[in-house]
Amino acid sequence: MASPTTPAVSPAQSAQSAAKPTLLSIRNVAKTFGRNAVLRNVSLEIAEGEFLTILGESGSGKTTLLRIVAGFESASSGELWMGPDRLDHQPPYRRRVNTVFQSYALFPHLTVEENVAYGLRVAKRPGAEITQRVSEALDKVKMTVHATKKPSKISGGQQQRVALARALVNRPRLLLLDEPLSALDANLRRQMQVELKSLQREVGIAFVFVTHDQEEAMVMSDRIALLRSGELEQVATPREIYNRPATAYVAQFIGHTNLLKAEVKDGVVQCASLSWATSLPDGPALFSLRPEHIRLAGSGTSNVRVHGRVLQQAFHGATELIRVECSDGLVLVVRTASGSGTLNQVELEFSASDAVAVRESPERI
């Protein structure tokens, strides 16, 4: 499918960041451990200065992909290119790539500032330069006051900042972050998400961030690459991936959705008792309809209406999620603003254009 020099682009990939030049080119990378195919034919272009998140469940291969880019694993097949240089033949200590580890991996026998200075010392930079860059880096992550402490004496959140500083001080071309926030509690996590994002904007280095938390991915990324069972399901901006999911898996993984199985005949979609016009060809079809796009019937500019009985009404703070059983047994999940009172029989409506056609996501062995 791909020629030797151009990377294979899977149909699942949509909008690329055409504006920024490509920093790292991952071409047809596959990785097998024994008989376990962890990555199958992954191709991805990472642009300069972008914040890209590799999102996936555990076992999706996201950490393996990251480790291949860092150099801790070698790909079974495929290539990595950074500019004109082939990256995958180089050992990790020659790549202009740095990693923030999930467990931080701070050196226990060195102080915070010695940890941060490590990469510069190893590169034999002059002492004065090291001192200056280290204090700058510590300042950026607000850890200056802890400079002379050992890692065992600072908290997890603080260790994480040190790990960040230690990586960034070397001015890598690419920073890899392996689920760095997963060990933090919820509030600290949200705070760090904001800080990380602004830090990335500030230093202008490309960040590749690995996580299983789709909310986190949406909040922080310029683009999201969703990985499932070793293959890329979709690569797009958060808005794109939310509003125009390419497959059923994407639709269900990111946010809530209603997956509607339908049949198209003569330009009309028929799903249970619902129908609307479409330009899709005849045959079976799958649609993703977000709960917030279904409204309690009101003024009625939407073209699809259905009547239903409320099964369950769950209070979620600002909004409520309502499970409605329509005629023909179709169950829809609806999101409305709180304060509608307890509902029993409801009239629902949505615009046909909000029902996005998605592909099936077959099982991958």
């Binding site: 150099g71 801790f72 694993e73 070698s74 050992p91 990790p92």
Partner: protein, 281 residues
């Protein structure tokens, strides 16, 4: 860190491999020589060995003194194993569950015989027995071994206690069992593997023990002391044969112990436990 382990084609790893091979050769060389020469017709010395024979083994098996010493060693080993466990298991429990004055000192004291040269343990016990007018005999040797090896039992059982789920014992007490019943029904079964491992180790160490035994010996010899006596008088090829057999037994015992350890802990956690449980000279 898969990178390191697979990168075996550079000078560094080749150098390390060579060094490792050399060290293994150094460690096994004399033993191999011993085994080889136990079949040598000319006895000890001379190269290359020729005239392969089983004569030395035949002579060995007919040697009454050796058999006597073997039985003595076995008696001592079993007795030492028993006393080390009888006192060592409670010691582990005490360290794990009780607070008493001098606890830290107690812990150190128990470990000392394993780290100190055997001569100190042996001589001090000799002085004690002399004071009490107890003549040196298999009993004194047993007491010596027991004392030196209590800490083997204590450290292994203590480690096992750390892995024990306290809640099980609490549940037993909650359901009406006494401490004694709980000990035998819950605690001991959970400590099965550490106890067996310790027993195996103590047995082996006792069979090989010579430094402490040296000073506490009476008329009856243990096997190592019997061999030692003959060595003082001159070398006979029989010694090669008996050494080979000892080696084989030790080999089997240690592999057994290792497997037990793996089953108990998933992997052999080579902590200070093991380093403390090593024979002193």
């Amino acid at each position: 860190m898969s990178g390191e382990a697979t990168a075996n084609n550079n000078p560094r790893s080749r150098g390390l491999l060579l060094h490792a091979a050399a060290v293994f050769a150094f460690l096994y060389l004399p033993i191999v020589v011993l085994i080889l020469y136990s079949f040598n017709g000319q006895g000890v010395g001379g190269f290359p060995p020729h005239n392969l024979t089983l004569d030395w083994y035949r002579i060995l098996f007919a040697d009454d003194a050796i058999w006597d010493s073997v039985f003595n060693s076995l008696k001592v080993a079993f007795a030492a194993m028993a006393s080390a466990l009888i006192f060592g298991v409670p010691a582990a429990l005490a360290l794990d569950r009780a607070q008493f004055p001098g606890k830290a000192a107690f812990r150190r004291l128990v470990l000392l015989p394993l780290i100190l040269p055997g001569i100190i343990t042996g001589l001090s016990l000799l002085m004690l027995f002399n004071l009490g007018n107890i003549k040196p005999s298999l009993l004194t040797i047993t007491l010596g071994h027991g004392t030196a090896l209590i800490s083997v039992a204590t450290t292994e059982v203590f480690a096992g206690l750390q892995k024990l789920d306290r809640a099980q014992e609490e549940a037993s007490l909650d359901l009406g069992a006494t401490y004694w019943q709980t000990f035998w029904a819950i605690t001991v079964p959970n400590l099965k593997l550490p106890i067996i491992g310790a027993a195996l180790l103590i047995f082996t160490l006792s069979m090989d023990e010579i430094a402490v035994s040296f000073f506490l010996i009476g008329r009856d010899n243990t096997l190592p002391l019997e061999i030692w006596g003959r060595l003082r008088r001159g070398i006979t090829p029989e010694i090669n044969a008996v050494s080979t057999i000892i080696f084989m037994f030790s080999l089997v015992t240690i592999v057994l112990w290792y497997r037990l350890r793996i089953r108990a802990e998933g992997s052999v956690d080579v902590g200070t436990e093991l380093t403390e449980a090593t024979p002193s000279s």
